[in-house]
C-alpha cells in the first residue's frame, strides 16, 4: 500500500466525487473536472486517479446498472469513505492554517 498522501489531482478528483455524490463515475468525474477547472483531462487519467484513491481507501465503489447509452456496460460508481472525507478535511485545514500564517504584508505587492 502506498502512503496516504493526497496528490493535487487526486484531491481534485476526491472533491468532485464528493460533489457528484451518488453519480460519480469516470465520464461524469471527467466532465465535472473540466467544467469546474477548465482543465483538459483524459479519461484514463481520471480512471487511474480514482483507482489510486480506492487503493488508498479514500473512496469505495460499486457497479451500477447497465444502460443502453453505454453499450450495455455497467458504470462503476464511486462514493467517499470516511477516510476520504477525513483526508479532504485534513487538506483543507492544512491549507487554512497556512493561509492564516501568511503575514498580511506579503499580500501588499
Amino acid at each position: 500500500m502506498k502512503g496516504t498522501y493526497l496528490g493535487e489531482f487526486e484531491e481534485l478528483a476526491l472533491l468532485v466525487v464528493g460533489t457528484l455524490f451518488d453519480d460519480a463515475y469516470g465520464v461524469a468525474v471527467k466532465q465535472e473536472i473540466q467544467a469546474q477547472t477548465g482543465r483538459k483531462v483524459t479519461l484514463s487519467t481520471v480512471h487511474s486517479a480514482l483507482h489510486r484513491l480506492e487503493q488508498k481507501g479514500f473512496v469505495k465503489s460499486r457497479l451500477g446498472d447497465p444502460t443502453s447509452e453505454r453499450g450495455g456496460k455497467r458504470k462503476r460508481l464511486f462514493t467517499l469513505t470516511f477516510a476520504g472525507v477525513k483526508a479532504l478535511q485534513n487538506a483543507r485545514e492544512m491549507r487554512n492554517h497556512l493561509w492564516d500564517s501568511i503575514p498580511k504584508i506579503a499580500f501588499n505587492l
Partner: protein, 903 residues
C-alpha cells in the same frame, strides 16, 4: 405472380434494412481496433467500466465532432489506458513458458552445433562469406547512388552544360566546361541564380616550411561553400574565401601539415605556373565524403587565379572553355522558363559559334541546360572531368554478383541443415510424441536458421572489416567501416540477416517438421540420402561458379590481348611532354635543338595532340558516301619517332614546300573507306578541313590504334606543320637510365621556361590506363569467382558428407565383401561426378554467351578459347577431387564393424 412476390419481399426487406440503418445511425459503434486493444491488454475487472466510459464519451463525440474524429480520439484514448494501473499482469493471469522454451531451443541449437562442429562451421562460414560479400557490395552501390545528395539544398543545385541542339530542339552534343566570363555574366543576367561557382581543379605541390607534398586543389568562387554543404570545423562558409589570399583546407591537410598546431591564420604555399603562391588558412572543412563529385584537399579563391599568368586575361576570353560551372537556383525556379531565357543568353554571348556553323546543318543552335547535380555522377554523355563518371550498369552487375554469392551461400545452409537433421531425427520424434505441433518444430528450425544467419552476420561483418582495404582498391573508393553506421545500411543488415535466414531455413524447416514421429524414433527414416532437391541446389552452385570462373578467364585473356596487341606504332619508351601553354612561339624548335645530339634520345617529334589526349574528328562526303575521319597535325619525324610503318608512298619532308600546304598521309582505313587501289598522288575530292582543300595523298601508313581498342581504327589523315604549332612533344628514349634522361629533359625545360611546370608521361602507361575500368571489373569478378568456388566447395563437401553418412552401412558391407579403396571412391563419387558433368554442360553455353557479349564491346577482341573452358573444368575437377578425398579416406579407414554393430 412470382414477380409480384419478389417485389413485395423486396419492399419489406428494404424497410427492415432502413430501420436497421436508423438504429445504427443512432448508435454508431466505436472502432473495433481500440476495443480489441483494451480487451487484450486491460485487466478484466476494469474492462467493463473503461469500455463503458469510453463508449459513452464516444457517442457524445460523434455528435459533437463527427464520426471520423470521434473514432480517432477513441483509439487514442484506448491507447492512453495502457498504463500500469489498467494493464494485465500477464504472468499471473496466464502462465506462459515461451521464455523457457526459447532458452531451451537456444541451448539445443548450440548443442547440435557443438555435436556437428564441422558441418555447422561450414554452414556459418559460407553464410558469413556470402553476407560479407553482400555488405561490401551494398556499401559500393549505396555510395554510387547517393552521389552529391548530401548537400542541404541538393534539389536546387545544378551543373550548367553548354549544349548544341538541332532545329527541332533535339540534343546533339554538349560539354560541361565554360569560359571564365560565363559565370559572372549569367549570374548578372539571370535573377534565378542564387549562387554560382566556377571550378578549376588541378594537382600541385603544397608547401609549408620545408614540408612539401602533392595535393589536389580547387580554385572556386566564394559562393562554392555557400552552395555546397561541406561542413566547416573552423571558419565559416560565408567568409572563408572572401579575400584573394585566403585558403580553405580539409581536416586531412590540417593534420598532415599542421599536426597539433592550429592552422587558422597560418600560411601555406601552392605551386602553380612555375612558382609558389602564398595563402592564409581561413577555414577548415571535413574531408569531402566519398560520394562527392568534388574531391579536393585545398580550396583557393578563383579571384586569385585571375591575378597571374594567363589567368589575367581570361576574363575576356569567351572562346576558351575549361571551367566546370555549378549553380544554385532559387527554390521557385521554373526550369523551362530559364532554359528559354538561356537560348537568348547564348545568342548574346556566342561561344564556339564557328564550330557549330562549320560542323552542323543550318538551324542548329547552341544553348545551355541546367542539369540536376544528382545526375552528374551517372552522366556518360557529358562526363564530369572533376570526377570520373560511373555507369548504373556497374551497380546492377555488382548487385547481381552479390546476390549470386549470397544465394550460393544460402544453398549451402539448406543442404547442410537437411544433412544435419538426420542426426536429429530422434529429437524431433520425441518432440512430436511429447506434443509438439508441426509448426512448433518448423519454427524451432527456422529460428535456428535465423540464429545461424545472425552468427553469419557477425562473422560477415568481421570479414568485411578485414577485407575493406582490398575492396577499396578494387572499387577505387575510400570506404571506412563507419560508413556502415547509417540508418539505411543498418536496415539493410537486418533485412539481409532475415532474408538469408528465411531463404536458407525455409526448406529444412518444412522438411524436418514433416518427419513422422514413430519412423524417426525407430530409425526407419531413410535420411541422409541425397535427394533431387539438394542435388539441384548443389548443381546450381556449380553452374554459377563455373560461369564466373570462365568469364574471369576470358576477361583476363582479353585484357592481356589489349595490352599486347600491335597498335601500329611502338608504345614502349615513348615519352610525351606537354607544352602547358608556353607562349614562346618557337619553343619546341629551341627545345628540340637543345636535345639534338643527346645519345639517350633516339628520335623526337611533335604533334598537336598526342594519342589518348583526344583527336579532331569530322566527316565529309565522298562519292555520295559519308566518311568519318580523324586528323592529326604532326611535326617532323613523326612516323619515325612513333615507329609507324609506311606501306606506300613517302614520309613528309621539310624541304618539300607542298607538304605543309596540300599533301597528306593517310591510314589504311582511310584508303579502304575511299575504296581506292592505288591512292598515292590522288586528290581526295570533297575533303576540306584545317585549311586543306582536296589534299593529295603522298603516303599510306599501317593502321594505328590511337584510342582504346573498344573502338575500331577510324579513317585518319595526317597533315604536316613545323614543331611550333604543336602542343605535345613525343620522344623515343633509350631504355637505359630513364630517370636521368627525364631529369635532363626537365633541366633543359627549366632553363627555357622557368615558370611553366614540366609534365611528362609514358605512352604505354597512358594506353594501359584506358583499360583501368576493365581491369577493375576483371578483378572484382575474379574475386567473386573465387568466393563462389570456395562456397560451392563447402556445399559439395557437406553434400558428400550427407551422402556418406546415409550410406555408411552400404559402404561397410562393400568393405566386408572386399571392396578396394578405388571401389569405395567410385561408389561415393559417381553420382557427384555426374552432377558436375551436368553442371558443366549447362554452364558452358551460358559462360560462352556472356563472355561473347562482353567481348562484343571491343572492336578488337580475342575469340573465346576452348582452352579456357578446359582450364576452368580442370579447376573444378581439382576442387571436386579434394572434396571427395577426405570422405573417401575416412570411409576407407573406418572399421566396418563399427557401423554395422549399430543396428
Amino acid at each position: 405472380m412470382r414477380v409480384k412476390c419478389g417485389i413485395i419481399y423486396g419492399i419489406l426487406f428494404q424497410k427492415s434494412l432502413s430501420i436497421y440503418n436508423m438504429s445504427i445511425k443512432n448508435n454508431i459503434k466505436p472502432p473495433r481496433w481500440g476495443t480489441r486493444l483494451l480487451e487484450w491488454l486491460c485487466k478484466e475487472e476494469l474492462l467493463e467500466e473503461i469500455e463503458g466510459d469510453l463508449y459513452e464519451e464516444f457517442q457524445e463525440r460523434v455528435e459533437r465532432l463527427g464520426e471520423r474524429r470521434a473514432r480517432w480520439l477513441y483509439n487514442l484514448q484506448a491507447i492512453t489506458f495502457l498504463r500500469p494501473f489498467a494493464l494485465k499482469h500477464f504472468k499471473i493471469t496466464r502462465p506462459q513458458n515461451s521464455i523457457t522454451m526459447l532458452l531451451h531451443y537456444f541451448k539445443i541449437a548450440l548443442r547440435s552445433f557443438w555435436q556437428q562442429k564441422l558441418s555447422a562451421t561450414i554452414n556459418v562460414l559460407s553464410l558469413s562469406l556470402g553476407i560479407g560479400c553482400a555488405i561490401l557490395i551494398f556499401l559500393f552501390i549505396q555510395n554510387e547512388w547517393s552521389f552529391d545528395t548530401f548537400h542541404e539544398k541538393t534539389d536546387q543545385l545544378y551543373r550548367i552544360n553548354r549544349i548544341v541542339n538541332d532545329k527541332n530542339h533535339r540534343f546533339l552534343e554538349g560539354i560541361n566546361t565554360h569560359p571564365a566570363p560565363f559565370a559572372p555574366a549569367v549570374k548578372e543576367e539571370m535573377p534565378e541564380i542564387q549562387y554560382i561557382t566556377r571550378v578549376q581543379n588541378d594537382k600541385s605541390y603544397i608547401k609549408r616550411g620545408n614540408f612539401i607534398s602533392l595535393e589536389k586543389y580547387f580554385f572556386t568562387d566564394a559562393d562554392f561553400f555557400q552552395m555546397f554543404s561541406f561542413s566547416f570545423v573552423k571558419g565559416n562558409a560565408q567568409q572563408s574565401l572572401e579575400d584573394n589570399s585566403s585558403a580553405v583546407i580539409t581536416e586531412r591537410i590540417a593534420e598532415k601539415f599542421f599536426r597539433n598546431e592550429d592552422p587558422m591564420g597560418q600560411m601555406i604555399s601552392v605551386f602553380n605556373d612555375g612558382q609558389y603562391h602564398d595563402f592564409i588558412v581561413k577555414g577548415i572543412v571535413k574531408n569531402p565524403p566519398s560520394n562527392s563529385t568534388f574531391q579536393f584537399d585545398v580550396v583557393l579563391p578563383f579571384t586569385y587565379f585571375q591575378t597571374y599568368g594567363w589567368g589575367k586575361e581570361m576574363e575576356h576570353y569567351w572562346n576558351n572553355s575549361f571551367l566546370s560551372t555549378y549553380t544554385m537556383l532559387s527554390a521557385d525556379t521554373d526550369l523551362n522558363v530559364l532554359h528559354q531565357k538561356m537560348i537568348k543568353f547564348a545568342k548574346r554571348h556566342p561561344v564556339a559559334q564557328d564550330y557549330i556553323e562549320s560542323h552542323f546543318p543550318k538551324g542548329t543552335y547552341g544553348t545551355y541546360r541546367f542539369q540536376p547535380i544528382q545526375e552528374v555522377h551517372f552522366d556518360n554523355i557529358i562526363p564530369e572531368h572533376l570526377h570520373p563518371a560511373s555507369q548504373k550498369r556497374y551497380s546492377y552487375i555488382l548487385g547481381g554478383i552479390g546476390l549470386i554469392v549470397l544465394f550460393i551461400a544460402c544453398i549451402n545452409f539448406t543442404v547442410l541443415a537437411i544433412g544435419r537433421s538426420s542426426g536429429r531425427a530422434k529429437e524431433i520424434g520425441i518432440r512430436k510424441v511429447v506434443g509438439a505441433r508441426r509448426n512448433q518444430v518448423a519454427n524451432q528450425f527456422l529460428g535456428e536458421s535465423f540464429l545461424f544467419s545472425f552468427f553469419g552476420l557477425c562473422i560477415g561483418l568481421l570479414l568485411a572489416y578485414f577485407v575493406l582495404p582490398q575492396f577499396n582498391k578494387l572499387a577505387d573508393r575510400e570506404f571506412t567501416f563507419i560508413t556502415l553506421l547509417n540508418n539505411e545500411s543498418i536496415l539493410f543488415l537486418i533485412a539481409l540477416t532475415l532474408v538469408a535466414g528465411l531463404v536458407a531455413g525455409f526448406y529444412p524447416a518444412l522438411f524436418i517438421s514433416a518427419f513422422r514421429p514413430v519412423e524417426s524414433i525407430k530409425n526407419r527414416l531413410k535420411l541422409g540420402r541425397t535427394n533431387l532437391f539438394t542435388k539441384t541446389l548443389v548443381g546450381t552452385q556449380f553452374v554459377l561458379s563455373i560461369v564466373l570462373v570462365i568469364v574471369t578467364l576470358v576477361m583476363g585473356d582479353q585484357l592481356k590481348y589489349l595490352k599486347t596487341k600491335d597498335l601500329g606504332f611502338d608504345k614502349e619508351q615513348l615519352l610525351t611532354i606537354r607544352r602547358n601553354g608556353v607562349e614562346r612561339a618557337n619553343f619546341f624548335s629551341v627545345y628540340r635543338n637543345e636535345l639534338q645530339d643527346d645519345p639517350k634520345i633516339v628520335n623526337m617529334s611533335s604533334t598537336y595532340t598526342a594519342f589518348t589526349y583526344g583527336a579532331f574528328t569530322s566527316d565529309f562526303k565522298h562519292e555520295g558516301k559519308q566518311i568519318d575521319y580523324s586528323i592529326f597535325m604532326v611535326g617532323p619525324d613523326f612516323l619515325k619517332t612513333m615507329g609507324m610503318q609506311l606501306l606506300a608512298g613517302r614520309d613528309f619532308n621539310a624541304n618539300i614546300a607542298s607538304d605543309t600546304l596540300e599533301n597528306i598521309i593517310v591510314n589504311e582505313a582511310f584508303v579502304k573507306a575511299l575504296g581506292w587501289k592505288d591512292p598515292i598522288g590522288k586528290k581526295v575530292i570533297g575533303l576540306e578541313n584545317a585549311g586543306y582543300k582536296e589534299p593529295t595523298i603522298v603516303g599510306v601508313v599501317k593502321d594505328f590504334n590511337f584510342e582504346s581498342l573498344e573502338h575500331a581504327v577510324k579513317p585518319s589523315w595526317m597533315l604536316y606543320k613545323d614543331a611550333n604549332h604543336m602542343n605535345d612533344m613525343v620522344l623515343r628514349i633509350r631504355p637505359e637510365n630513364i630517370q636521368s634522361t627525364i631529369q635532363k629533359l626537365e633541366r633543359i625545360w627549366k632553363n627555357l621556361a622557368p615558370d611553366i611546370p614540366f609534365t611528362y608521361s609514358f605512352m604505354d602507361e597512358r594506353m594501359a590506363a584506358q583499360y583501368e575500368t576493365e581491369e577493375r571489373w576483371n578483378n572484382i569478378i575474379k574475386f567473386a569467382g573465387i568466393l563462389a568456388i570456395f562456397i560451392a566447395f563447402f556445399g559439395m563437401f557437406g553434400l558428400v558428407a550427407l551422402s556418406v553418412a546415409g550410406r555408411a552401412k552400404e559402404m561397410s558391407i562393400r568393405k566386408v565383401f572386399g571392396a578396394s579403396m578405388q571401389d569405395i571412391a567410385y561408389a561415393i563419387s559417381s553420382q557427384f561426378a555426374k552432377l558436375i558433368l551436368i553442371a558443366l554442360v549447362i554452364a558452358s553455353p551460358i559462360a560462352w554467351y556472356l563472355s561473347n557479349k562482353w567481348l562484343q564491346g571491343f572492336a578488337y577482341h580475342v575469340n573465346v578459347k576452348p582452352l579456357l573452358f578446359i582450364l576452368a573444368f580442370g579447376l573444378i575437377a581439382i576442387v571436386f577431387i579434394f572434396t571427395l578425398l577426405y570422405h573417401v579416406l575416412r570411409t576407407a579407414k573406418a572399421n566396418p564393424a563399427d557401423t554395422l554393430r549399430l543396428e
